[in-house]
């Protein structure tokens, strides 16, 4: 090894304290960067592989009862590789001794022959017998049950029935049950019948042949199947086409990783500033040596090589520490996120490109950070260096600021010394302030985001001036519900609302086909499977809420236009998400909405500012005197009764629900307390 490179290694060791700090700073950034990068690479592969291994349906068609003949006809359709009939039924499941949870029951005809959107048995018995239920592995905690125990299930048309939990399954296509606060159950047609529902299947889950990832091809096959059904006189209620090959939660994972990677990059940037600062100090301490090396024949590039070599050594040390730490961190992150998104990790193998990229970033970062101090330091003249003027160019006292500081008086000398010394090495001062500022900036940003989120949620909940909403399974006269509410002690005010789904009809009369999910009032997504409506075959649907004139329980924050007035008949208020999606939804314009089989024209009078929620709109509920007959409201959600109680405990609200249910058990579907929990709505 030449003396030059010996100097590199020995200086590194001699300045081990300072070198250690630089290495730690770079290693921190690289570790965060590699953890995020490796977890992204692993999760992207694992999520898609795990999801694709289930043969996810290319699209799902909802119709009425599917029979063998229809199944065979669809199966013989060109472009269809596999077709399977399913059904999803919403209901309630009693979790624990007295708590009811929402349950989504997936009905499968033959568990031994699932070809599309497969589920994997994990524990207990398989397949479930009549009177038995399989529960998604993550839903056991929501259901508060174990294999071998029994749960009580109630569907809208049936009575409370007891089912035995016979096993646990893994359904990659479902969201984490704990996050959704929903129990996913899997039953047979016979069990469905025992729950009081007619034993038929109404969904066709179809896997296309050919290119499974070509959305155009899928849309064409979906259109053909739709035509086939319509030709056979079968209604097509909805066509759901998910993004081909993409896990329903891939975007969520991407968002999470984006947030984490942003912080990783910020840490890397911060460590870069720290490296600049430390290397500037290092160069300042080496000025005499630089001068001497130049004096004995060292050129600028030869001297710069020595210090760049030192920076490279810092990078190598940092990468050597950070890479294993980052990869381990990435594994931990993968485990956490795979649990969060409900899929299994089969391999933690990190692609080679991740190692290469991390090594490249780890080596280039200190070189980039060192470039300014090294080039400045190595460019110093021999005379300057040996005169010990250093890289500061000139001594204190030559500038206007120095002279101004020299004029400062009236404070203790030690303080004066501290103040003037602070401005002696200005580059170092700027870098130090920059480091502290950037660190403070990140810290404050995190705090601001947290506060902003809380404030936004507070605003959101403040617009919902009720403590409890109760959804009914079937339509009911408003008067009877109001009587039932009035007879249930504790409610101060209640209003009956209608919630339904709508879609925008374009000027030409065709439905605007954009992807969207049907949103409830609280931004939740209704329907099974988590897919979204098809592009092309079905319009994007959104929630439409019909409220009573002059509602007191829903006061939205209007950002443009105005709120609904009691005298409004055909006025519509859209939230910002809906207005952002459709250019025709602007204050003062009219929009044609399809709701149920009818279409009607509405005047957009206001836009409500709402964060986090899916698109939805609010209008006046139809009455006999207002727009009667102009729109047909489907009964899917029935009447919604919203009650306001004085501020009391959640326990009180639960007791209220129990009393109300005793009176209206036939119609009760579910109750939601938007403010019962700080982080999610509570469902009973």
């Amino acid at each position: 090894m030449s003396p030059r490179w010996r100097k590199v290694t020995r200086d590194f060791w001699q300045e081990r304290m300072r070198s250690g700090l630089v290495v730690a700073a770079i290693a921190l950034g690289i570790a965060a960067f590699s953890a995020v990068l490796s977890s992204y690479a692993i999760l992207d592969r694992e999520l898609n592989q795990g999801y694709l291994a289930t043969n996810p349906a290319s699209f799902t068609i909802r119709t009425d009862a599917v029979d063998r003949e229809l199944l065979e006809a669809v199966g013989a359709q060109p472009g269809v590789q596999s077709v399977e009939a399913r059904r999803a039924v919403s209901g309630r499941l009693k979790a624990g001794p007295a708590q009811w949870r929402s349950v989504l029951l997936f009905v499968v005809k033959d568990f031994a022959d699932i070809k599309v959107s497969t589920i994997a048995p994990e524990t207990g018995a398989w397949p479930p017998g009549t009177g038995e239920i399989l529960i998604e592995r993550d839903a056991f905690q929501v259901a508060k049950t174990r294999i071998g125990q029994t749960v009580t299930v109630k569907l809208p048309r049936g009575e409370d029935q007891t089912l035995r939990v016979s096993g646990g399954v893994h359904d990659v296509g479902q969201a984490q049950a704990r996050m959704e606060n929903v129990v996913y159950g899997y039953i047979t047609l016979q069990t469905l019948a025992s729950l009081g529902e007619e034993p038929f299947l109404d969904q066709l889950k179809i896997l296309v042949s050919g290119d499974r990832f070509d959305p155009v091809h899928i849309a064409e096959v979906a259109a053909d199947v739709r035509k086939l059904l319509e030709n056979r006189g079968r209604p097509v209620r909805r066509v759901d086409v998910p993004d081909p090959g993409k896990h329903p939660h891939a975007d969520l994972m991407g968002m999470l990783l984006l947030a984490i990677s942003s912080f990783g990059l910020l840490v890397l940037g911060l460590s870069g500033v720290l490296v600049v600062n430390l290397l500037t100090a290092l160069m300042a301490s080496q000025v005499r040596q630089i001068g001497m090396m130049k004096a004995i024949g060292g050129t600028r590039s030869q001297i710069a090589q020595i210090y760049f070599g030192q920076a490279l050594l810092l990078g190598v040390a940092a990468v050597a520490i950070a890479l294993p730490v980052g990869i381990l961190g990435g594994r931990a992150l993968c485990l956490y996120l795979s649990g969060f998104l409900n899929f299994d990790m089969t391999s933690f193998a990190v692609p080679v490109w991740v190692y290469l990229l991390v090594a490249l970033v780890g080596l280039v970062t200190p070189l980039l950070a060192a470039s300014y101090p090294v080039l400045k330091g190595s460019g110093i003249s021999v005379w300057e260096a040996l005169s010990d003027f250093g890289v500061a160019d000139r001594g204190f006292g030559s500038g206007v600021l120095d002279r101004a500081l020299a004029g400062v008086g009236g404070v203790a000398r030690p303080l004066l010394l501290a103040i003037r010394n602070s401005f002696r090495r200005r580059t170092r001062l700027v870098l130090t302030l920059l480091t502290l500022s950037v660190g403070g900036l990140f810290f404050m940003s995190a705090l601001n985001i947290r506060t902003s989120m809380i404030n936004t949620l507070d605003h959101l909940f403040a617009s919902r001036r009720f403590d409890l909403s109760v959804s009914l399974g079937t339509m009911a006269p408003l008067e009877s519900i109001e009587r039932a509410v009035a007879k249930t002690p504790g409610a101060v005010r209640s209003e009956g609302w209608i919630a339904t789904e709508g879609f925008v009809v374009s000027a030409a009369g065709s439905a605007s086909a954009q992807s969207s999910g049907a949103a409830g009032l609280h931004g939740g997504q209704e329907g099974a499977g988590g897919g979204h409506s098809a592009a092309g075959p079905a319009p994007a649907r959104f929630a439409v809420l019909g409220v009573q004139p002059g509602t007191k329980l829903l006061k939205l924050e209007i950002s443009e236009g105005r709120d609904l007035l009691p005298e409004d008949v055909d006025a519509l208020v859209a939230n910002t998400a809906l207005a952002a999606r459709y250019p025709q939804i602007r204050v003062g314009q009219s929009v044609v909405l399809g709701m149920g089989p009818a279409e009607s024209t509405w005047r957009v009078v206001g836009i409500a500012r709402e964060a986090f929620l899916l698109p939805w709109a609010m209008c006046r509920a139809p009455t006999s005197s207002a727009r009667a007959g102009t729109c047909a409201w489907p009964t899917r959600f029935g009447w919604g009764s919203f009650s306001r109680t004085p501020r009391r405990s959640t326990g009180f609200e639960k007791r209220w629900i129990k009393t109300f249910k005793e009176r209206e058990s036939g119609r009760f579907r579910r109750a939601v307390m938007p403010r019962a929990a700080s982080d999610s709505t509570s469902t009973c």
């Binding site: 030449s2 003396p3 030059r4 010996r6 100097k7 020995r10 200086d11 001699q14 005499r288 040596q289 001497m292 090396m293 130049k294 004096a295 004995i296 024949g297 060292g298 050129t299 600028r300 590039s301 030869q302 460019g379 003249s381 021999v382 005379w383 040996l386 006292g397 030559s398």
Partner: protein, 222 residues
């Protein structure tokens, strides 16, 4: 003539005003001469050596060393030129603390790259032997006495076999016996054909030097 200075002026501009370190210096020094530049502190001795060694630039006038006018050369060209033509020795030795004695001597050869890498170590050892510190070759400078460090600095100055050695107060930090030894080394080098110029306060150097240049307030008086 090996070294020729003509109408050399050097003025430093400071916050307190301009300061003339050298004023109209004309000087010629022949090959193999051992010249002592003497004078009080601030008389311009170090400035004169800096200008001859291309460490500093004159405000006006010319510096020619071995027929090369160096006053117009760039910093990088000066570094390359120094590496092959000038050996520098300083009062405080200026050895690199993290390199061994041997490596310090090898460093100028490494920068200049004239000798093949395999030949550098033997040459460095031979130079250390010549100045009498070869047994210290693998020690760090910190482990050596002042006199030993100055001998190493001389060996380093000789690494690329330059025709000129410039030594700024080489004995200023040494005891008298050691100073005598160091001056003896310089005498030997000059006798072997190397031009040696030292800036010094030493009074008893007449016996070892060939010529004295007296500087008073930046002017050569004799």
């Amino acid at each position: 003539m090996l070294i020729e200075l003509q109408s050399l002026n050097k003025t430093y501009k400071t916050e307190a005003g301009s300061f003339s370190a050298l004023r109209g210096v004309d000087l010629t020094i022949g090959a193999g001469e051992f010249v002592a530049v003497v004078g009080k502190s601030g008389s311009g001795k170090s400035t004169l050596l800096n200008l001859v060694g291309g460490i500093d630039r004159p405000t006006s006038g010319s510096v020619s060393v071995g027929g090369t006018a160096i006053q117009g050369m760039s910093e990088n060209d000066l570094a390359i030129w120094r590496g092959g033509n000038v050996g520098l020795v300083f009062q405080f030795f200026q050895l690199l603390p993290t390199l061994t004695v041997l490596e310090n001597v090898m460093l100028p050869m490494d920068f200049r790259g004239t000798l093949p890498p395999a030949d550098r170590r033997p040459r460095a050892l031979s130079l250390l032997d010549r100045v009498g510190v070869v047994e210290q070759a693998n020690k760090l400078p910190q482990a050596l006495s002042g006199g030993q460090q100055q001998r190493v600095a001389i060996a380093r100055a000789l690494a690329n076999d330059p025709p000129v050695i410039l030594a700024d107060e080489p004995t200023g930090n040494l005891d008298s016996a050691t100073a005598k030894d160091v001056l003896g080394l310089f005498r030997g080098l000059a006798s072997a054909g190397t031009t040696v110029i030292i800036a010094t306060h030493e009074r008893d150097i007449a016996s070892v030097i060939d010529r004295t240049v007296h500087l008073v307030d930046g002017v050569v008086v004799r």
